[in-house]
């Protein structure tokens, strides 16, 4: 891949935002080696809405952790927005998580002692160099986008499940990341609320956001335009 004078990779506009080439991830448990991922290759284009699907134990969570820069592969190449994450240390990974990834979790994972607004402001705090005024404005805008303008001062335990997940989505998009990475985002919600959340993802995708949803739910997965299926640590073709 060509590099410019700054040492940064020049990314062609059509280069996939997630590029994974023959990735292996092994865990050593006692005397055994567990091959959670055993040679997976895939890519997600900019602006795609992709589901990573597979039954539990298939390795999809491992794959999600690698895409989300929470983990690094045993071997193989992962490029997130053109940046190779395989050799990075924890500080460098946290930098990429903050700027390129927006997480949405099954259990929402909001910070309980903070208001919705403060929750959404938190990632911007870690970006550094953004004043409190701008952080608040951007967080308010994100909350407005997910339809929670009137719930900003509420703490998570004063919100319904659907509302919590909307706060989490606002928190994921407030940094304008390259990827919104959602792990079973409807798993803790009833079907109707889950559908509303999926509709919101659809809208956000329509605005140009790249969205990856990790799920074992066929219905949810098939609602996404693209599917990548994982089974036994390998890609199902």
């Amino acid at each position: 891949m060509p590099r410019n004078t700054n040492g940064k990779v020049n990314i062609p506009p059509d280069f996939p935002v997630i590029y994974i080439d023959d990735v292996h991830r092994y865990y050593v448990v006692g005397d055994f080696v567990v091959k959670a991922l055993d040679g997976v290759s895939m890519s997600v284009g900019r602006g795609d809405f992709t589901a990573i699907m597979g039954p539990s134990g298939s390795g999809k969570s491992t794959l999600m952790n690698l895409i989300g820069c929470l983990d690094t592969p045993t071997s193989g190449k992962i490029l997130i927005d053109g940046e190779d994450t395989s050799g990075l240390n924890e500080t460098e990974l946290s930098y990429i998580r903050n700027r390129k990834i927006g997480f949405v979790f099954q259990q929402f994972n909001l910070l309980a002692k903070m208001s919705a607004l403060e929750n959404v402001m938190t990632p911007l705090l870690y970006t550094g160099g953004i004043g409190v005024k701008e952080r608040r404005e951007r967080a308010e805008y994100a909350l407005e986008r997910v339809g929670l303008k009137d719930r900003m001062k509420h703490s998570p335990n004063e919100l319904s499940g659907g509302q919590k997940q909307r706060v989490a989505i606002a928190r994921a998009m407030v940094t304008q990341p390259s990827i919104i990475l959602a792990d079973e985002p409807t798993g803790a919600l009833d079907t109707a609320t889950g559908n509303q959340i999926m509709e919101l993802f659809g809208e956000l995708n329509g605005e140009g956001n790249t969205i990856v949803i990790v799920t074992h739910n066929e219905e949810i997965g098939c609602a996404c335009p693209y599917q990548i299926r994982i089974r036994d640590g390998k890609r199902e073709v």
């Binding site: 952790n65 989300g68 929470l70 983990d71 924890e90 500080t91 946290s94 930098y95 998580r97 903050n98 700027r99 997480f103 979790f105 994972n109 909001l110 910070l111 002692k113 938190t122 990632p123 705090l125 870690y126 970006t127 550094g128 928190r171 940094t175």
Partner: protein, 390 residues
């Protein structure tokens, strides 16, 4: 980021008030006792110094020891010739005795002093007069009473002109010619409980040796008391030898008091310091609990992009905020205690600024020291494990 972390720390303290207070107790007690001890030490020293200065920085007392022959009635002249800035040297003899008037008997200290004694020490008569040089030369049996003695023996105030009996082997009758004003004690001797007779009368009736009990040196007005004291010491060491006398000046007493209270409060503060250390271990314990309890939160923050350094900073600042708060409460408590005790003891309260600054600094240091390990532990947590922690 710093202020956000302080805010976070305060929020988390507010969330568990009881636990915060209990875990801070060690620091609070430690800082409180250090501050109280140092404040009391400083207040005591200042009060002692103040009372010494007000009661006679201008006098120095020399007590002969081991019967050196140089300490005779001419010693005063020798001293005045050899040391500058001396106004006068008073030879003084004294002895415990009993004094009687009618049916009233009092224990008192009998002083044989020169006729200029009252003048030199600014000791004034309330009634009658001090004895004259003639009284001294002719060894007359006259006596001047201290204020308390006069009041006890003559409640009606008719002392002057009466006779009192002073016991020494046998009782002798003395004419009371004067009663003194009240005067604060100086250098350990209380004026009000004493009675005074002419020096020569005392020598003839009570002592019959040529050595002198002690000397009171009055230094020249405006002279530096410490310097005169040092000069006298230097002169006496070469003239007689340092083992043959004992010198007390207000300046030397003040220094002594300072070093005694200083040593004492350093010792006590060191003991209190140990409780600070114990308090620090309490902080470490509570921070480790806090890190364990908030594993999930740490995982979420890491997922949102908090670097290990940021997480470490968050918990370190929390520990420092915690201990600083304990330090502040401790300072308030310590000063409050100091204020109460100084009030009871009748000293003037002196805020020990150095103790306060030191305590806050030390509390923060404890926060850093005992917060570092829990914070490093939080920073090292694996993000995936932390996120999955329930």
């Amino acid at each position: 980021m710093f202020f956000e972390n302080v805010k976070l720390a305060l929020n988390s303290m507010r969330g568990s008030k009881m636990r915060t207070i209990l875990s801070l107790l060690g620091i609070i007690i430690g800082v409180g006792s250090v501050v109280a001890i140092l404040t009391l030490g400083e207040s005591a020293t200042k009060s002692i110094t103040e009372s010494l200065v007000s009661s006679g920085l201008e006098t120095i007392s020399i007590t002969p020891m081991g019967g050196a022959k140089q300490f005779n009635e001419q010693f005063g002249n020798v001293l005045e010739q050899n040391v500058a800035d001396i106004k006068s040297v008073l030879p003084v003899n004294s002895s415990g005795t009993r004094i009687r008037s009618g049916k009233e008997i009092q224990s008192t200290t009998l002083y044989g002093v020169p006729s200029n004694y009252a003048d030199v020490l600014d000791y004034t008569c309330a009634q009658g007069s001090w004895f004259s040089a003639e009284d001294n030369i002719y060894k007359r049996q006259v006596v001047v009473l201290g204020a308390s003695v006069a009041e006890d023996l003559f409640p009606n105030g008719d002392a002057v002109g009466s006779y009192v009996s002073i016991f020494r082997n046998q009782s002798k009758r003395y004419l009371v010619i004067g009663v003194m004003e009240e005067k604060d004690a100086t250098l350990g001797s209380s004026f009000n409980d004493n009675v005074y007779i002419p020096y020569n009368t005392f020598t003839q009736r009570f002592r019959r040796v040529s050595t002198v009990g002690s000397y009171i040196v009055r230094i020249a007005d405006g002279a530096d008391a410490t310097k005169v004291g040092d000069d006298i010491t230097a002169f006496l060491d070469s003239y007689i030898g340092e083992d043959y006398y004992f010198l007390i000046s207000a300046a030397s007493l003040a220094t002594m008091a300072e070093s005694i209270t200083g040593t004492f409060s350093t010792f006590l503060a060191a003991i209190a310091g140990i409780s600070l250390l114990v308090g620090g271990i309490g902080i470490m314990n509570i921070m480790l609990v806090s890190v364990a309890e908030r594993t999930k939160e740490i995982g979420i923050r890491k997922a949102l992009g908090a670097s290990p350094r940021v997480i470490k900073g968050q918990f370190l600042i929390e520990a420092i905020t915690l201990t600083s708060m304990g330090g502040l409460i401790g300072i308030l408590l310590g000063n409050g205690l100091g204020k109460i005790v100084t009030n009871i003891a009748g000293w003037t309260f002196h805020l020990s600024v150095s103790a306060c600054v030191l305590s806050i600094g030390f509390s923060m240091l404890i926060g850093v020291f005992f917060g570092l390990y829990p914070a490093a532990k939080a920073a090292k947590l694996d993000p995936i494990d932390a996120l999955n922690y329930e």
